[in-house]
Structure formats: C-alpha cells, structure tokens
C-alpha cells in the first residue's frame, strides 16, 4: 500500500493532460453547441414572438379595417336603402302620375271616341233624319208650295226688325249688284215681281234682282248678298235644327 511517487507525479501530469484534452475535445465543443442551440432557440422564440406581435398587429389592423369596412358597408347600405326608398317613392309617384296621366288620356281618348261615336251616330242619325225629311219634303214640294213659300218670304221680309233691315241695307250698299234670290223651283214671273217690289220697298231703291234655281234649298226662297242673307226655306229650318243638335 505504498505510494509510488513517480506514479503520483505521472498521474498528476496525466490528469492535467486529460483536463486539457477534454477541455478541447469535450467541454468546449459541447458547451458551444449547447449555447449556440440555446441562442438559436432564443432567436427563434424571439422571432416567433416578433411574428406573433406582427401577426397580432396585423390581426388588429385587419379587425379595425373590417370594422371600418362593416361600418362603411352599413352606412352605404343605409344610404342605399334610403336612396332606394326615395327612388321607389319617386318611381311609384312617377308611375302613379303616369298611370293617372294615362288613365286621364285614356279617359279623354275614350271620351273623345265616345264623343266621336256619338257625333258620328248623331251625324248619321241627323243625316238620316234630314235625308228622310228632305225626301219627304221633296216628295210633297210643289209650285203651289213654292208660291206659299214666296208669300211667306215676302211677309217675313216685310216684318223684319229694324236692325235686320239695316244690315240688309248696309250689305246692299256695299255690294249693290250682288243680291241673289235662290229658289228650289223656277219662280213664276209674278212671284219674282212681288219679291222684287218687296225688296225695293224695303231698301227704298229701284233694282232688278237676280233669280236662280237651287234644288238643295228643298222648298223656299233665299235672298243673299255678300255678307248678309235672308231666307225662308225648309233647308234653313233643317240647318237651324242641325246646328242646334250639333251644339248639344
């Protein structure tokens, strides 16, 4: 159990060599690797933390933008709804107005059509009535009737009111040669003379009237000058009746 001092010294040296070699080949490389890995992990954690922070920031930003967008969308939707409601109201009003206008127009058109139809009907009726009347009067018209007519015309001429007389005088004075007497049949000379005398008396002049046959008068006599006319005939009655019916 002796201590071999050479062995002690050798072991001491061996140990110191081993310390140096293990420092070089074991502790340093291992500790460096561990430190490097720790640093790498720390860096990665920091990077991850930074990324998380950035992601959180982006998330917040996105959330904020989303909220803004939602708010804008809501605002726009509200505006659009209001505008749509306004537009709807306007369109409805316009449609109503258009419909009213159209209804009015249609009513007018219908009314007009009705009126036209009525008018046509009235015209046709009137025409038929007058045609029938004319035919009937033409059928019964004769020279004796014509004589009665001339008599009646003279009587009417004589019983003219003052203003009517004045109108006739004024018309005659402005166109002295244009007095024309129309009759449905050729008036006998006696009748023509009576009429001529009556006119001369009335106008207090001496003139010769022109006589003309006009079958459309049906029966009666018509005295006309430019601007004025005096007549007694069935046609005149019929025309007056026609005007009265048309006016209604």
């Amino acid at each position: 159990m002796d201590i071999n001092w050479f062995t002690v010294i050798a072991q001491l040296v061996n140990f110191l060599i081993l310390v140096w070699l293990l420092k070089k080949f074991l502790y340093k490389p291992i500790l460096n690797a561990v430190n490097e890995r720790e640093k790498k992990i720390t860096d990665q954690l920091k990077e991850a933390s930074d990324k998380v922070a950035v992601a959180q920031q982006e998330k917040d930003e996105f959330k904020r933008k989303n909220e803004d967008f939602e708010q804008q969308k809501k605002g726009l939707m509200d505006t659009v709804v209001v505008e749509a409601a306004t537009e709807k109201t306007q369109l409805i009003n316009a449609a109503k107005a258009e419909a009213i206008a159209m209804i009015s127009k249609m009513e007018k058109a219908a009314k007009k059509e009705q009126e036209n139809e009525n008018k046509d009907l009235a015209e046709k009726t009137k025409k038929q009535v007058f045609d029938i009347t004319r035919k009937a009067l033409e059928a019964i018209a004769s020279v004796s009737l014509e004589e009665q007519s001339a008599t009646k015309f003279i009587k009417q001429l004589k019983s003219s009111k003052d203003d009517e007389k004045q109108n006739l005088i004024d018309a005659f004075k402005s166109h002295p040669d244009s007095i024309l007497v129309k009759s449905a049949f050729d008036l006998p000379a006696k009748q023509q003379e009576q009429i001529n005398d009556a006119v001369n008396d009335l106008l207090n002049i001496k003139t010769e009237l022109q006589f003309k046959t006009a079958p459309e008068i049906i029966s009666g006599i018509e005295l006309s000058t430019k601007g004025y006319k005096v007549a007694w005939s069935f046609s005149e009655y019929l025309n007056a009746l026609e005007q009265e019916i048309s006016a209604k």
Binding site: V8, Q11, N14, I17, L26, I30, L31
Partner: protein
C-alpha cells in the same frame, strides 16, 4: 493478493516505473478522448441531435448544473477540472465490469495525485480570484488563532480525499477477489453491481467535495472583495 495496481510493473528504469495504474490510466484517457472526439467532430446545433451528442450534453450540462448549485457562478471556468475529475474517476470505476480490470483509482498513488490536484487547484482558483495575499488571509479567518487549524484542515481534507477514494475502490476490488475465491458464482456479480454504484457515488463525492473546496476558496475571496468595497 496485490492490493494496488502499482505493484504490477511492466517496465522499470530506476525511479521510472510503468505499472498497471499508468497503463490503465492511459487506456481510460484514450477511451475518453477518442469518444469525445468521435462525438464532438459532428456536433449539431439543430433541435435534432445524435444520441451520443445528447448523452454527452446531458453529462456536461449535468456537471455544469452541479457546479453552479454548489455556488460557483461561472461553471464553465471550473468544468475542465471538476468535470475531468468526475469523468476520470467515474469511468475508471465503471470499467470494473470488465473481467480482470483493476481501476487506477484503486491505487493510492492515483488518488493521492488527484487529491494533490485538488489541493493545488483550491489555491489556484482562490488566488486567481482574490490574489495571493487575499487568499492567504483567508487562513486567518475568523481570527489568526485559527491559522494552524485551517492549515491542518487543508492538508487533512486532501488526505481524506485520497484515502476515501482509494479505500472505497480498493476495498470493493478486494471484496470481489475474496468472494471469487470463496463463492465464484452470483455473489461476485452482485458485489460488482454494488461496486458500480459505489464507484459512481465515489466519483460524485470526490468531484463535489473538490467543487465545495474550490467554491469555499472563491467565496472567501469574493466576500473579502465585497467587504472591501463596502468599507471604502
């Protein structure tokens, strides 16, 4: 029966003797260095590492943590010395599982050498932290009367380190040898298993005591410098 591998001499020339202790030590040194080199030549700094790298990292970081727990704030300064103590003693003792192997730690010369290394390392680290005078003054603490006791304590603990390790390992080897001669089956295996545990514990005790001694020297130096700062 040979009590120490020192007695197995391979070559001798005057004072110089190449004995089994030295040869086994060289073998263990070679094993440690080659293993370390093989593993550390392909070190990875990624998350995924090899099993051997993981094993070595566990050992190195474990030693580092132990040193730090004892009270040395910068373990990387001491791991070279303390870690080598642990690994050398530990591997020397664990190799008893090989038949015919005699650990170098069963030699009083080796344990003395290691204890001497600790004996020298304590003032080395103490002086490096607080200077020669600062370290020497630590022997006068708490009063100058304690100087002889401190000196005796310094020497005796070195002696205790050497003898404790030698006694444990040598006795383990001897018990196995005795048991082999009495009952060659089963019992030597159980004793060898116990020897593995004892050997590892002894490695731990030796290195942790060395750490404590160094830490005490460094702490004394630190306390000194702190006191100096406060008084100034």
């Amino acid at each position: 029966m040979e009590l120490s591998p020192d007695q197995t001499i391979f070559w001798e020339y005057g004072f110089i003797t190449i004995n089994l202790t030295l040869v086994t030590t060289w073998g263990i040194m070679l094993l440690l260095i080659v293993s370390a080199w093989l593993v550390t030549r392909k070190l990875k700094t990624d998350i995924h590492i090899s099993r051997w790298q993981c094993f070595l990292e566990m050992i190195v970081t474990g030693i580092n943590e132990q040193i730090e727990e004892v009270g040395l704030s910068k373990p990387e300064e001491y791991i070279g010395f303390i870690g080598t103590l642990f690994l050398f003693i530990g591997v020397s003792n664990i190799c008893i599982i090989f038949p015919g192997y005699t650990p170098p730690t069963a030699s009083l010369s080796t344990t003395t050498a290691l204890a001497l290394a600790v004996f020298l390392a304590v003032p080395f680290y103490g002086i490096s932290k607080s200077g020669v005078w600062g370290y020497l003054k630590s022997f006068l603490q708490p009063t100058w009367i304690m100087l002889p006791f401190n000196l005796i304590g310094e020497v005796s603990r070195t002696l205790a380190l050497a003898v404790r390790l030698f006694g444990n390992i040598m006795s383990g080897g001897m018990i196995v040898a005795i048991l082999l001669s009495i009952s060659p089956f089963i019992f030597p295996v159980i004793m060898n298993m116990l020897g593995l545990l004892t050997g590892t514990v002894q490695a731990y005790i030796f290195s942790i005591l060395a750490t404590v001694y160094i830490a005490a020297a460094v702490r004394n130096a630190k306390e000194k410098s702190k006191t100096k700062v406060i008084t100034t």
